[in-house]
C-alpha cells in the first residue's frame, strides 16, 4: 500500500461514519437497533481497555491464523498437482467443487460435532473455506507458465526443482496471491462461523453474548468493528507480503 492511499482510506472511513450517523439521526432508530457511531466508538475503546475484547480477539486471531496457514499450505500443494496433471485434475475436481458448493454454514455444526468446541474445529472450518480459492488460483497460476519458457528450461537442462523454483513459482505467484487475498478474508468468516457453531471464546461468541445475555448492543457493534478491522489488517498484510514477493514484470 502506498502512503498516498492512506488519505483516501481515511476519507472513506469518515464518509461511512457520517452516513451511519445520518441514518441514525434521520431514521430516528433507537440505540438497541442501531447505536450511533460515537457510542460504538466509546464502547470499543472501553472494551479494549477494560480487557473484555482482547481475549476474544486473541482467540479468533489464532483461529484465523492457523486456519489460513493450514488451508493455504494444503491448497498450494493440491493446486500445484492439479495444475501439473490434468488427469488428477479431472479425477478430483468434482469432489472439490462438491465440497465447495456445500455451504460452510451447514457444514460447521457437523465439524463442531466431530472436532469439539475447542480450537481445532475452528481451524478446520477456516482451513476448509480458505482451501478452495487458493487451490484454484494456484492451479490456474501453474497452468499459466509459458510452454516456451518450460522448453527453454529443458534445453538448459534444468532439474525438476529448478523448474519449480525459477519458473513455476515466480510465474504462478501473482495468481496465487489473488487466491490468498480472497482466502484471508474467508478465513475470518470461517473462524466466526466456527465459533457460532459452538465455542466458549472468540469474537463470534462475543457478538452473540452482547446481543443475548449481555444485551449490550454498542458492544455488539464494537465487536463487529473489531472483526472488520482484523479482516482489513490481515488483507493488507497479505498485500504487503505480495509486494515483497511478486517481482515487477
Amino acid at each position: 500500500m502506498r502512503l498516498s492511499t492512506i488519505p483516501s482510506v481515511l476519507g472513506a472511513l469518515a464518509v461511512s461514519l457520517l452516513l451511519w450517523k445520518a441514518v441514525v439521526v434521520i431514521g430516528g432508530y433507537p440505540p438497541f437497533i442501531l447505536p450511533p457511531p460515537e457510542s460504538v466508538l466509546v464502547r470499543l475503546v472501553e472494551a479494549w481497555t477494560d480487557g473484555v475484547m482482547a481475549p476474544h480477539a486473541a482467540t479468533t486471531l489464532l483461529e484465523i491464523g492457523l486456519g489460513f496457514a493450514v488451508g493455504s499450505v494444503a491448497a498450494l500443494v493440491v493446486g500445484y498437482v492439479l495444475g501439473r496433471s490434468s488427469f488428477v485434475a479431472r479425477l478430483i475436481s468434482p469432489y472439490l467443487v462438491a465440497a465447495q458448493a456445500t455451504p460452510i454454514l451447514a457444514l460447521a455444526p457437523v465439524l463442531a460435532l466431530w472436532f469439539g468446541p475447542g480450537l481445532l474445529s475452528k481451524v478446520v472450518i477456516a482451513a476448509l473455506i480458505v482451501f478452495f480459492p487458493v487451490a484454484v488460483s494456484t492451479m490456474v497460476g501453474i497452468r499459466s507458465v509459458d510452454a516456451g519458457l518450460l522448453e527453454l528450461a529443458r534445453s538448459l537442462r534444468a532439474t525438476r526443482r529448478q523448474v519449480v523454483m525459477t519458473l513455476e513459482i515466480p510465474a504462478a505467484l501473482p495468481s496465487i496471491f489473488g487466491g490468498l487475498r480472497i482466502g484471508i478474508t474467508l478465513a475470518v468468516v470461517g473462524a466466526i462461523v466456527g465459533e457460532w457453531a459452538g465455542a466458549e471464546r472468540g469474537l463470534g461468541v462475543l457478538v452473540n453474548l452482547a446481543r443475548g445475555s449481555l444485551f449490550d448492543i454498542p458492544l455488539m457493534f464494537a465487536t463487529l468493528v473489531t472483526i472488520a478491522a482484523i479482516g482489513v489488517a490481515l488483507y493488507l498484510a497479505v498485500v504487503l507480503v505480495e509486494r515483497r514477493l511478486v517481482p515487477a514484470r
Binding site: R154, S155, L156, A171, P247, R249
Partner: protein, 260 residues
C-alpha cells in the same frame, strides 16, 4: 573420440520425426533428413512454412526424440539437451520478472556456476551483444531486437560449440535485421561456433551461410544443398554480386518446385 577437425560438427542422419495426434495417424513432420555441418561452418536452412525446420533444430538440440535416424555431435549421438549446443528461439523467451542480466545469468545459474563467476561472465556477454547499458532493465522495457540480443547472449553463456538460431530476427524490420546479421557474423568471426540458422528470407540465407540447405514441403527433407560463392568477412554490398543472384535464383527454383 578424438577429432582433428574443429569441434561442433553435426551429422544429421536419416532423421524422421512423428508427432502423435489424437484420433488420427501421427503427423510425419520430417522424413529422412540428411545433412552434415562441419565445425565452425554456418549453414542456413530454408523451406516452406511447416516443412519441419524448427523440428530439425529441436532434434539437433535434443528437445525432440527422433522416430528414426539420429543426430551426431562431434561423432557422439545426441539424446537430450546438451550444453555444447546453444539455442535461440523465434521468440526471445525471456523470464519477464528477471532483468536482462539475470536472464543471461539464467543459463549459468541452472548449470550451477557460482555467483561471482556468473557476474563476470554476464558482463562480458552483455558487452558482446551490445546490451551493457541495459543490464538492469526488465525485458518488457526492451525493443524486440534488444530482447533477441539478450536471448543470444543467454545462448552463448555456456560457450557452446554449436549455435542454433530459429528465425531469430524474423520479427525485426528489414534494416535492423541487416545490422543484426552483420553483428552475428562479427560475433561468429571471434567465436567460430558452428551455426545453423533457420530463415525464410533467401537473401538472409545467402548472406549468412556458407551453404544453404533447401527443404521440401512436409514431410520435410533436403531437396538441395547449395554452396554460397561469397568470401568472408561478408559485407552487405556483396549481396549485389552477380553470383548471389545466381544462387538466389537456384534456391528459388528449388523452393518453387517444392511449392508446385
Amino acid at each position: 573420440m578424438t577429432e582433428a577437425a574443429a569441434p561442433g560438427r553435426i551429422d544429421v542422419h536419416d532423421l524422421a520425426v512423428e508427432f502423435p495426434r489424437r484420433g488420427e495417424a501421427p503427423l510425419l513432420a520430417i522424413d529422412g533428413v540428411e545433412f552434415s555441418v562441419s565445425g565452425g561452418e554456418i549453414v542456413s536452412l530454408i523451406g516452406p512454412n511447416g516443412c519441419g525446420k524448427s523440428t530439425i533444430l529441436r532434434s539437433i538440440a535434443g528437445l525432440v526424440r527422433p522416430s528414426r535416424g539420429q543426430v551426431l555431435l562431434d561423432g557422439g549421438a545426441i539424446d537430450g539437451p546438451d550444453p555444447r549446443i546453444g539455442l535461440v528461439f523465434q521468440e526471445p523467451r525471456l523470464l519477464p520478472w528477471r532483468t536482462v542480466a539475470r536472464n543471461v545469468a539464467y543459463a549459468l545459474e541452472l548449470a550451477g556456476f557460482p555467483r561471482p563467476v556468473r557476474e563476470v561472465r554476464v558482463l562480458e556477454l552483455l558487452r558482446r551483444v551490445g546490451l551493457q547499458d541495459s543490464a538492469t532493465v526488465l525485458p518488457a522495457q526492451l525493443s524486440g531486437g534488444m530482447r533477441q540480443r539478450a536471448a543470444l547472449a543467454r545462448a552463448l553463456a555456456l560457450e557452446p560449440e554449436v549455435l542454433l538460431l530459429d528465425e531469430p530476427f524474423s520479427a525485426l524490420d528489414a534494416m535492423t535485421r541487416d545490422r543484426f546479421n552483420l553483428e552475428l557474423l562479427r560475433l561468429w568471426g571471434r567465436l567460430r561456433t558452428t551455426i545453423v540458422v533457420v530463415t525464410h528470407s533467401i537473401s538472409e540465407a545467402i548472406f549468412l551461410g556458407d551453404r544453404v540447405i533447401v527443404l521440401g514441403a512436409r514431410p520435410g527433407r533436403v531437396v538441395a544443398d547449395i554452396a554460397v560463392p561469397l568470401s568472408r568477412p561478408r559485407t552487405i554490398d556483396q549481396l549485389d554480386e552477380a553470383a548471389v543472384s545466381a544462387t538466389a535464383r537456384e534456391i528459388r527454383r528449388h523452393l518453387d518446385l517444392v511449392a508446385a
